[in-house]
Every structure is written in structure tokens, then in C-alpha cells.
């Protein structure tokens, strides 16, 4: 993983300590993410994967180390609006219609009304919600709300899409459908994605690379390259190679030494 020109995110020697002399959340993280990659962060609770994502997005400041995004410090990247963020909850504004929610970042970028309307139309098409522009968020299902959230994050074509367990609150069926949709969007937009999840199969299915993290303090325990062919379909989940990779990630997780991996993975609700 060299830091050549195609690198979107470059993390070196990153550590994070919460509080004075307090909990060490992250220790000595090095990670490169290339343009167009889909990288998942996976690990048991306390491994700091959400914290790592939030440090990349300049929501949380690191204690030590550097985060370079698009060749500039994370803070500069944020001020340049290089990030599209999707949280576990859709975080839509109730008082805005679907169209106006998607247009929110565009308003801040100073786009005029006509340009916003055109982009919103494109985005609604992308997430297959055309016809719902006038609806208010509470009139949509959880899955549809999260698709609006993704449309909002992509509306201003950010260099990097940060997703923090975006499908964690959805049922299994919706989740698998949205996984496929996310891959289609990723392919169509050519985005670079960092994706936090606690689902091994979701990580393998979506990613070009899975970064396995270990807890207390959070470190990179291993990296699994996912060589499943693109584009991935529902049938990908039944390929033998898919199962091999799932096993590889699972073993890598167990090797982190945490016997509680299974239960924490099942019950995790990580709050950074």
C-alpha cells in the first residue's frame, strides 16, 4: 500500500486517547485507501472502528498521527466538503421534504435553485425514489429513509463516502436489498467508500478490502483482500469463494484474541 497519487485516505501513526490519561481507543493505526476502493472496518465493540471513521471525517480529533485526505489534512478536506456521511440513523430533517433533505448540502454550497432541482432529480433516480420528492421523512419506511440519507450524502459528489453502520438498524431483507443498491450506486458514481459494520457477510459482500480491527486498544489486526468478481449479485453470496472469505475474516477476528467476539459482534452498538 504505497502512498501514490491515487490514494484518497492516508492514515499514519494514528492514536486516540479519550479523556485525560483515559481510555486508549486507537493505537498506531496505519491505513491507505485508494481511489474507488470500498473498504470495510470490522471488529468487536471497543475496537474503535467508529472512532476511526469519525477521525477521518474530522468529527473527532486524533491524539496523535496524521490523516491526509485528497492530499490535505482532514480538517481542510472537511472545509472543502470532501465528505459525504451516512450514519446508522437516517438523520433526516423532519420539517423538510425528501427533495429538500437531499438539497440541504447543495444549499450550503450555494447552488442556485434550478441546479439543485436538477441534481435532486438525478439523486432520486439513483436511489430509486422518484415520485417521493414531496413526501416528508416520517411518511417513508426505514429503508427508504436511509436511501434518502445516501442520496443526500452523494448529492454534492464528495470525494469520500463515510458510512457508519448505515444498515445496522434495518431488517435482514431490507439490508440485503440495500447492499445491492449501494454496490450499484458505488459502481455508477465511482465513489470511494469507508464502511463501518459489525456484519462479517456484509463486509465481505460489499468490500474490495476488509480491515479487521482488535479491541482495547483498537488496532488493525489484519486486512482481507476480497477478490470476488464485480459486479456482485445476489448469487455472489452463494459462491464458495464468498464463504472462504467470510471464514477468513471470522478467523482473523477470532485471532484478535477476543473470546467475546461472537457476542459483542451480535450485540454491538458502538458509541465512540
Amino acid at each position: 500500500m504505497s502512498a501514490d497519487g491515487s490514494s484518497v485516505v492516508s492514515i499514519t501513526g494514528l492514536s486516540k486517547v479519550f479523556g485525560k490519561g483515559g481510555v486508549k481507543a486507537l493505537q498506531e493505526i496505519d491505513l491507505e485507501v485508494e481511489r474507488g476502493e470500498f473498504v470495510s472496518l470490522i471488529g468487536p465493540s471497543g475496537c474503535g472502528k467508529s472512532t476511526l471513521l469519525r477521525i477521518v471525517g474530522d468529527i473527532v480529533e486524533p491524539t496523535e498521527g496524521d490523516v491526509i485526505v485528497n492530499g490535505k489534512p482532514a480538517r481542510k478536506a472537511r472545509l472543502d466538503r470532501d465528505y459525504g456521511i451516512v450514519f446508522q440513523a437516517p438523520v433526516l430533517y423532519d420539517w423538510r421534504t425528501v427533495a429538500k433533505n437531499i438539497a440541504l448540502p447543495l444549499e450550503m454550497l450555494g447552488w442556485d435553485r434550478a441546479r439543485r432541482a436538477e441534481r435532486v432529480r438525478d439523486m432520486l433516480e439513483l436511489v430509486e425514489l422518484t415520485g417521493f420528492e414531496k413526501h416528508h421523512p416520517w411518511q417513508l419506511s426505514g429503508g427508504m429513509q436511509q436511501r434518502v440519507s445516501i442520496a443526500r450524502a452523494l448529492s454534492f459528489s464528495p470525494a469520500l463516502l463515510l458510512m457508519d453502520e448505515p444498515f445496522g438498524a434495518l431488517d435482514e431483507m431490507t439490508r440485503e436489498r440495500l447492499n445491492l443498491e449501494l454496490l450499484r450506486i458505488w459502481a455508477e458514481t465511482g465513489s470511494t467508500v469507508i464502511f463501518v459494520t459489525h456484519s462479517i457477510s456484509e463486509a465481505v459482500f460489499l468490500s474490495t478490502r476488509v480491515v479487521v480491527m482488535s479491541p482495547r486498544p483498537g488496532r488493525v489486526a489484519g486486512v482481507v483482500h476480497v477478490d470476488l468478481s464485480q459486479p456482485r449479485t445476489a448469487a455472489t453470496r452463494e459462491e464458495p469463494r464468498f464463504f472462504e472469505l467470510v471464514t477468513e475474516v471470522r478467523e482473523s477476528l477470532h485471532a484478535t484474541g477476543a473470546d467475546e467476539v461472537e457476542e459483542t459482534l451480535a450485540a454491538e452498538d458502538e458509541i465512540a
Binding site: 471525517g57 474530522d58 468529527i59 472537511r78 472545509l79 472543502d80 466538503r81 465528505y83 456521511i85 450514519f87 440513523a89 438523520v91 430533517y93 423532519d94 420539517w95 440541504l104 448540502p105 444549499e107 450550503m108 416528508h136 421523512p137 416520517w138
Partner: protein
């Protein structure tokens, strides 16, 4: 569907009104029949017939107008002071709420005084304020009676608006705030696009309380300053002659109540137009 639900609500309104009337008259009838005196003695003085209160509206008063017209003028006078006071109080309350929410230091420094302002009895403060304003000169003369009264209405209005605006602004979803942070939004942008909309249900709750408080404030302001043109004056006047004509005071209370309800309904209507929320998330 819409017509039917309106009909249903109208029916409920009539039923509740009928029930209230039945309770009132039933109580009166039973206590008079049995001669019970607990919790209070019932006669024409303490509990006149409701229909007599309504009929009294058609009787002439000492001013020459019929009671209904006299009370209408008084109500409009009070309504003007209360409405202007309400608007000023709401604007000042909102502005103060925004300032206190934005600046932590000010919140700790100023909030105790904001609270203290409401612990001063309004009955003691109103004459000082209303008389005091009578001796200042704005634009060539002292402010007119109703303007001075509106200050008291504003005084009672601003407090709930300040407290709820502050609370509402600080209630914005932390994730939504992080989202604004990720868009590199300026403080003002976050305030107008996120915090204020988040606070609207809280603010409207305060405005509903303030709507009725402003009417009470205006009435008290009129009374303490001996301004006789409004409902406050009417109440004092009819109170003096209560023994002779108790229904006059009851009719005045009816008008005062209707004015308060009117204010409340205006705020409710504004809320319906302005606030868009999931039905279950309306405060």
C-alpha cells in the same frame, strides 16, 4: 372524511358545553333544594343561572351601550395591548433564548436574572412600570395607555418563550449537528437550518402558554394603572356593583376567557401552518 371529522368535533364541542351547563345548573338546583352549604352556599349571587348571564348581555349599561357592545369595546382595547405585548414578548423572548443558547457563559450569567424577573409579583411590578412609562416622553409625549399596558403583557410573555427557545435550540439531534459540521456549515447556518427548526415545537408550546398569559398581563396592567377602557377596568367596575348585578362580572369573565381562547387558537393555527413533524413527534 374531513367533513365527518369536523362534524364529530363539532358534536363533541356541543356535548362538552351541554355537560358543563348541566353540571352548573344541576349543582345549583340540588344545593338550593337541599340547602347544602358545603363547599359553598349557592344563591343568585354566587352562582347565577347561565342563561341569565347570557341574557344580561342585552341589558344597557351606565355608558348607554348594551353590555355586549360595551364588553366588545373593552375586549378590543385589551386585545390590542395583549396582542402587541405578545408579539414583542415573543420576539424578545426568542432573541434572548437564541443568545442564551449560543453562549454558554451568558447562559450561566444571565439565566438567574431571567428567572428572578418572574418571581417578582406582577401586581407589584405592573403599577411601577405602567406609571413610570406614563412619565417618560417618546415622540413628544408619554406612550398611550394601551402601549404601557402592552409592556406588562410582553413581560409575562417573554419568559416561557426564552426558556423553551433555549431548550429547543439545544435539543437538536447530535448526529444532525455532526452532519452540519461535516458540511462545514457556519454557526448561523446551523442555527437557521437546524437549531431553529428543531426548536419550533418547543417554541410553539411556549407561545400557547404566553398567548393566554399576555391577556392576563394586559388585564392586570390596566387595573394597576387605573386604565378603565379595557377588560381590566370593566372587571374592577362590575366588581364594585357585584351585589347589585352579579351577571355583569360573569359576562365580563366570559369575554376575557373568549379572548384568551381566541389568542390560543391563533397560535395553534400558526403552529399547524409552520411546524411540520411526524404526528407522534409533535410536542
Amino acid at each position: 372524511m374531513r367533513g365527518r371529522s369536523l362534524l364529530k368535533r363539532g358534536l363533541v364541542f356541543v356535548l362538552v358545553l351541554g355537560g358543563f351547563w348541566a353540571l352548573w345548573e344541576g349543582y345549583k338546583w340540588l344545593w338550593e333544594r337541599t340547602g347544602w352549604t358545603k363547599p359553598f352556599r349557592v344563591n343568585e349571587l354566587t352562582l347565577p343561572h347561565l342563561h341569565e348571564i347570557v341574557l344580561q348581555l342585552g341589558q344597557p349599561t351606565s355608558t348607554g351601550d348594551d353590555l355586549w357592545l360595551y364588553l366588545l369595546h373593552a375586549t378590543l382595547f385589551t386585545a390590542r395591548a395583549a396582542a402587541v405585548g405578545f408579539l414583542f414578548g415573543a420576539v424578545i423572548g426568542f432573541a434572548l433564548g437564541v443568545i442564551l443558547a449560543q453562549f454558554d457563559v451568558l447562559r450561566r450569567g444571565i439565566m438567574p436574572y431571567v428567572v428572578a424577573s418572574q418571581t417578582i409579583p406582577i401586581l407589584a411590578l405592573a403599577p411601577i412600570v405602567v406609571r413610570g412609562l406614563g412619565s417618560v416622553s417618546i415622540g413628544g409625549g408619554p406612550p398611550s395607555d394601551w402601549v404601557r399596558v402592552s409592556v406588562i403583557a410582553a413581560y409575562l410573555t417573554f419568559f416561557p418563550v426564552t426558556v423553551n427557545t433555549m431548550r429547543g435550540l439545544l435539543s437538536a439531534d447530535p448526529w444532525a449537528l455532526e452532519l452540519m459540521h461535516s458540511y462545514a456549515a457556519r454557526g448561523w447556518t446551523t442555527l437557521w437550518k437546524l437549531r431553529v427548526p428543531s426548536a419550533l415545537p418547543y417554541i410553539f408550546t411556549a407561545l400557547k402558554i404566553a398567548a393566554t398569559a399576555s391577556v392576563v398581563g394586559a388585564i392586570i396592567g390596566e387595573q394597576t394603572a387605573s386604565i378603565s377602557k379595557g377588560l381590566g377596568g370593566a372587571i374592577l367596575n362590575f366588581n364594585q356593583y357585584y351585589v347589585l348585578e352579579p351577571t355583569n362580572l360573569w359576562a365580563t369573565n366570559l369575554y376575557a376567557a373568549l379572548l384568551g381562547i381566541g389568542f390560543f387558537l391563533v397560535v395553534l393555527l400558526a403552529e399547524k401552518i409552520v411546524v411540520h413533524r411526524a404526528p407522534e413527534r409533535l410536542v
